[in-house]
Symmetry: C2
Subunit: 207 residues, 2 copies
DNA sequence: GTTGTTTTTGAACAGTGTTCATTTATTTTT
DNA sequence: AAAAATAAATGAACACTGTTCAAAAACAAC
């Protein structure tokens, strides 16, 4: 029964082609300006056929943003060799911010847009496991910091959320253009500068 | 020439009716699900007539979100009587978070969506003065904190941005549903808890 | 070569923002 | 009061959107 397997592979291949086309268009035009018909045109199929591979547009962009989490996670992996948890924590912050500023559209899809997350909410269970993984990496690092005597008096879970919020807040204000208008002259450096202020606060909390 | 003035008033009145209708629909369905035709139906005018009062859909929602800034600013005014700048700073944080959680759709429009901010970028000058005002209120408070000996070694502008980012990060992760999936069991309290962690960090920085 | 299954199609549905020639209403001038 | 001029409102039309589905084409099995 090699035929069934080959058909399976063909199907998977076309699914992949749809994803590649969707990503290409999305990176140059954004999610809402990328239409099903655009994707269909690019792969030279009819619009209707896309619905045999994906339930709806949200499912396509959910599949796409999973790749973003893998990218982010693989960048984090260079920190495995950093044994000092405070240094690792700061490294995570730098990598997170750098990833967001280098891939603003992907970051937008992963952490700001509601398109892909709605797909998660609607699908039963299977809880945004990509994002869950990245957040847990932060949590265990902060646990280690606490175990080694830092952040005395703070609660691990809420502090982790706060740290995530701080970096997310800076990059999302930048990506969604709220800096342009309030800090016009410092646009390009303000996130880096803010991050340095944050690091110096973290250091101060440890002594 | 009382007639010209009356016509001016009539025009202004219809403009206001469009805004009220837009706000009603937007609060119950969101921006993208509120169409020009919906608004036109509600005020019993034709779709085309709306374009005599607003350049496009973005302009309508830009006008709407200005009201949000006025609301936020007026809530901040109760802090005028708080003379201790550190207490005022924390009060601002609480009010900001409370406003966001009580008016998530308005907050979304003001600080997350790109619809209204694009209108600002496209229109010449007149730089998002509403948001500018609120941010400057934060900056002057932090300046006072620095003048009274807090936040030693920190730079005012970057620190202000960091503080804004922290509260914005928490509420925007909540509003855009990234807590649901990563902190499901604590969804409802995590922002308040995170804010308390933040306050205790701010206090620690002052001693 | 016929039957059965899978894949692909493209028209159709119900909607979107926006434009604009035409009609309707109002004001000004004669 | 009638005519001309101006302003406001209309609704059809344009070029799109996501999604569905009966019909057609393609392929596999007997």
């Amino acid at each position: 029964m090699g035929i069934a397997e080959r058909k399976e592979r063909d199907k998977e291949e076309l699914r992949e082609r749809i994803l590649v086309a969707a990503k290409t268009l999305f990176l140059e035009k954004g999610v809402e300006k990328t239409s099903i018909r655009n994707i269909a045109d690019l792969i030279e199929y009819s619009p209707g056929s896309i619905y045999h591979y994906f339930k709806d547009k949200n499912e396509i962009f959910h599949a796409l943003h999973q790749g973003g989490f893998q990218q982010l996670m693989s960048r984090m992996e260079v920190l495995a060799s950093v044994s000092n948890p405070m240094e690792r924590l700061k490294g995570m912050g730098s990598i997170y911010v750098q990833f967001a500023l280098e891939n603003p559209d992907m970051y937008d899809l992963m952490f700001i847009k509601d398109a892909p997350i709605l797909h998660v909410s609607n699908s039963n269970e299977e809880q945004w496991k990509e994002g869950f993984g990245t957040f847990n990496f932060l949590r265990t690092t902060i646990q280690e910091c606490i175990q080694t005597g830092h952040f005395r008096g703070h609660e691990e879970e809420a502090l982790s959320f706060l740290v995530w919020s701080t970096v997310h807040g800076m990059v999302s204000l930048r990506i969604r253009r709220r800096c342009e208008v309030v800090l016009a002259q410092r646009q390009d450096t303000i996130v880096k500068d803010g991050l340095h202020e944050f690091f110096s606060i973290l250091d101060r909390l440890s002594s």
